[in-house]
């Protein structure tokens, strides 16, 4: 039986295209899928990290409040733009059961991080991040990366990079409207 070269070429092209698509999908899953496909809608991975004031903060201890979890670093210019907004948003929505938590993901000393936070007038807890915590959130390879948790501790949204203030406000309002407002445990 004689094989038609064009058909064989076509089959080879389809196989290669499928391989390409598979590789792309695998990569997307690796980069985003954990957070997109599995993390959003799920309970936020719990962690306990030291804060700049020396006390430890456990994420699940904030249950009952909507939480904005912001991964940032002192070397990150875009993170610096968001911080004054966060200060305002904490003031505005804090009394309604909203809490911003910053997680510093850099190698700077605690003193430098504290100095930076002071310069920015930060009025919310800054935690000293660990790689393992970032990994539990699908890997924090872009800064800023911000997650929004509803009052039950469920992840409802995630944003990479600098966003407009209105994007944060929308997510915060949504986070505050979901879940049960209970007294946060100490």
């Amino acid at each position: 039986m004689k094989r038609n070269p064009l058909i064989l070429f076509f089959i080879a092209a389809i196989v290669a295209a499928m391989l390409f698509a598979g590789i792309r999908m695998a990569r997307n899953n690796r980069a985003n899928g954990f957070a997109k496909g599995q993390l959003i809608g799920q309970l936020a991975p719990d962690f306990e990290l030291p804060a700049l004031d020396g006390k430890n903060l456990k994420l699940s201890g904030l249950r009952g409040k909507a939480v904005l979890l912001n991964f940032w670093a002192t070397y990150c210019g875009p993170c610096k733009i968001e911080m004054p907004w966060f200060v305002e948003l904490q003031k505005e929505y804090g009394p309604q059961g909203f809490q911003i938590v910053g997680v510093a993901m850099d190698d700077a000393s605690t003193e430098d991080i504290a100095k930076f936070a002071k310069e920015m007038g930060v009025n919310y807890p800054i935690l000293l991040g660990k790689e393992s915590v970032g990994e539990s959130y699908g890997g924090v390879s872009v800064l800023p990366t911000t997650f929004f948790l509803d009052r039950d501790g469920k992840l409802i949204a995630r944003e990479f990079g600098l966003q407009s203030r209105s994007v944060f406000v929308d997510h915060i309002k949504k986070a505050m409207s979901q879940g049960h407002a209970v007294q946060a445990q100490k």
């Binding site: 094989r3 070269p5 064989l8 070429f9 080879a12 092209a13 196989v15 290669a16 295209a17 391989l19 390409f20 590789i23 792309r24 990569r27 980069a31 670093a73 002192t74 070397y75 990150c76 210019g77 875009p78 993170c79 610096k80 733009i81 993901m105 850099d106 190698d107 700077a108 430098d112 930076f116 390879s141 872009v142 800064l143 800023p144 990479f160 990079g161 600098l162």
Partner: protein
């Protein structure tokens, strides 16, 4: 026929491989020229780097203490003394995330010079010098954790010309 199939497969594989390339920002080093140095004499090795389009990295002298400078660290060797590293001046640029602030950065191509001086006693031949370029990149809306790019270059050491032989002054002949 087989050639045709193999070509088709290679073509699409290359396409897929290209897509598997480094994600996000990257700094790449161009192959360094092999610099020939004479035993005991200094020479400059120019190293060329390229920052991916759309990204910037801090210069060696960023304008804020919180920014991470680009630094080349060359591993010490027993045969070659590593001297001064000369960085280019960065460009003062403003970015969308801070239009009123100027950052001193490298974008596109930049060159770093490394001074090397082989010891007089070192044997002639080719030596590999290794190091890392530490950098931290950002784009207009986000930053990326610091990275370390492995760097290596060859230094070819040539023998120093023999020292001129001293002719003893000839004593005048007494006639």
């Amino acid at each position: 026929m087989k050639m045709l199939l193999a070509s088709a497969f290679l073509l699409f594989s290359a396409w897929a491989q290209d897509d598997l390339g480094p994600q996000g920002p990257a700094v790449k080093m161009a192959p360094a020229p092999v610099v020939t140095v004479v035993q005991g004499k200094p020479a400059t090795v120019p190293l060329s780097f390229r920052v991916s389009s759309g990204y910037h990295i801090n210069s060696n002298h960023p304008k804020s203490e919180f920014l991470i400078p680009t630094v080349l660290k060359v591993e010490a060797t027993t045969d070659i003394v590593i001297g001064r590293t000369t960085y280019p001046e960065g460009q003062d640029m403003s970015f969308a995330f801070a239009p009123d602030e100027k950052l001193n950065v490298y974008t596109g191509d930049f060159k770093v010079d490394v001074l090397v001086r082989p010891l007089r006693s070192v044997q002639a031949g080719k030596y590999i010098v290794r190091g890392t370029l530490k950098y931290q990149a950002c784009d207009n809306a986000a930053c990326y954790p610091p990275k370390q790019l492995p760097v290596s270059f060859d230094v070819k050491i040539a023998k120093a010309p023999p020292a001129p032989t001293k002719n003893p002054a000839q004593s005048p002949h007494a006639h």
